[in-house]
């Protein structure tokens, strides 16, 4: 076989592959949003934070508001959220993200501002800031990731840890008689007049991911209306600290967390108001 023939055959083979592959720009139906950076995330395998970050980035890209959005990261596992989102961001002290977000929004009222907070940050150390930010009806979006545990510090009991649920500081299970009850902060803030939109979602399956994205999108869109605060809870998992595989943690979440923290809207704007 001459060299020339070989080259032609290889060329032919490549062309054949190219023809068969449907992976072309025309056929692309889903890829990560541009605002989500390529930096590999530090989260444990199967952690819901990654999906939540991506959804924020998708909404920012789809609304075309990357230049006008400022995010506030909390202290907790998502302390490094600013490493993954290609927007201006501020990293707040533990529990104070909503106060930080309040101030940014007050001095930049035309920008989109959101805080991203975990359950320890938002519902324990930052309870006062959360409630007062909601009650003042600041025109911003709070995204609340509730996985019922302190992930970053290694699995201690959170304000949202379920009764009987084990953690490193409730090793025999949360005893509500001595450790108190889990705090349904989302139900609590939904009562406040400053809160315009309040919903509880999850990112455990494709359907819930779509619903969570829609909720985040509404949270950004409502900022334009200056009607008040949007509060989006995402019930999530913590495979590492729940000591389960990602799939098992999702199943446990569906059976236990969703029973205590039922998914759905807690407060939706009046249609006429919209």
């Amino acid at each position: 076989m001459s060299e020339k023939t070989l080259v032609n055959e290889e060329q032919h083979f490549e062309e054949m592959i190219a023809e068969e592959s449907i992976c072309t720009t025309d056929n692309l139906v889903y890829e990560k949003p541009d605002t989500l950076l390529d930096t590999p995330m530090h989260y444990c395998p199967g952690c819901g934070h990654g999906v939540a970050h991506r959804l924020i980035a998708e909404v920012i890209d789809e609304l075309g508001i990357q230049e006008d959005t400022i995010g506030v990261a909390p202290v907790g596992c998502s302390v490094f959220a600013y490493n993954y989102l290609n927007i201006d961001m501020t990293e707040a002290a533990h529990g104070r993200a909503s106060a930080v977000a309040t101030a940014i929004k007050r001095v930049l009222p035309d920008k989109y501002v959101f805080s991203y907070q975990g359950d320890g940050d938002l519902a324990a150390i930052g309870t006062a800031e959360t409630i007062h930010t909601c009650n003042r009806g600041e025109n911003l979006l709070i995204i609340f990731i509730n996985n019922g545990i302190y992930g970053m510090t290694g699995g201690q009991m959170a304000p949202t840890t379920l009764p009987g649920m084990k953690s490193t500081t409730s090793p025999f299970g949360r005893d509500v008689a001595t450790m108190g009850n889990p705090l349904k902060i989302t139900e609590l803030v939904a009562q406040l007049p400053g809160v315009y939109y309040c919903t509880r979602t999850a990112v455990n399956n494709a359907g819930n991911v779509r619903r969570a994205k829609k909720a985040i999108q509404k949270g950004f869109e409502y900022q334009k209306l200056n009607k008040g605060l949007s509060f989006v809870e995402i019930v999530s998992n913590c495979p590492s600290n729940w000591k389960m595989t990602p799939l098992a943690s999702n199943k446990w979440m569906e059976e236990n967390m969703f029973a205590f923290y039922p998914l759905g809207d807690l407060k939706v704007p009046n249609d006429k108001e919209k």
Partner: protein, 95 residues
């Protein structure tokens, strides 16, 4: 309904093998690799050629590393081409 052909591309170096996409795939197209990536994780591989490009795997992927492609049933053809721009313009409708 015409059969939809889909495909996915996974950035296997960033995959942490959490398997959420396996559970999300209605076609059971995905499986964990036997090999490890450079981070030491087993990663996702497509083992069946029955992908419909439904995007479920990409939606649940915490790493955002799955690109989904779907072949449209009808190949996109230009409805018109414009030629001879220096002189008279000729328009040909192909449909």
């Amino acid at each position: 309904m015409a059969k939809v052909k889909g495909d996915i591309v996974i950035d296997i170096e960033k995959c942490k093998g959490c398997e959420l996409c396996i559970a999300a795939c209605p076609q059971d197209s995905l499986e964990l690799s036997r090999k490890l990536n450079s981070k030491g994780y087993q990663y996702m591989v497509k083992i069946e050629d029955n992908c419909t490009g439904c995007t479920n795997c990409a939606l649940v992927c915490p790493e955002g590393i799955i690109k989904v492609y779907r072949q449209t049933t009808k190949k996109k053809e230009p409805v018109a081409t414009i030629s001879n721009l220096t002189g008279d313009i000729t328009v040909t409708v192909n449909s």
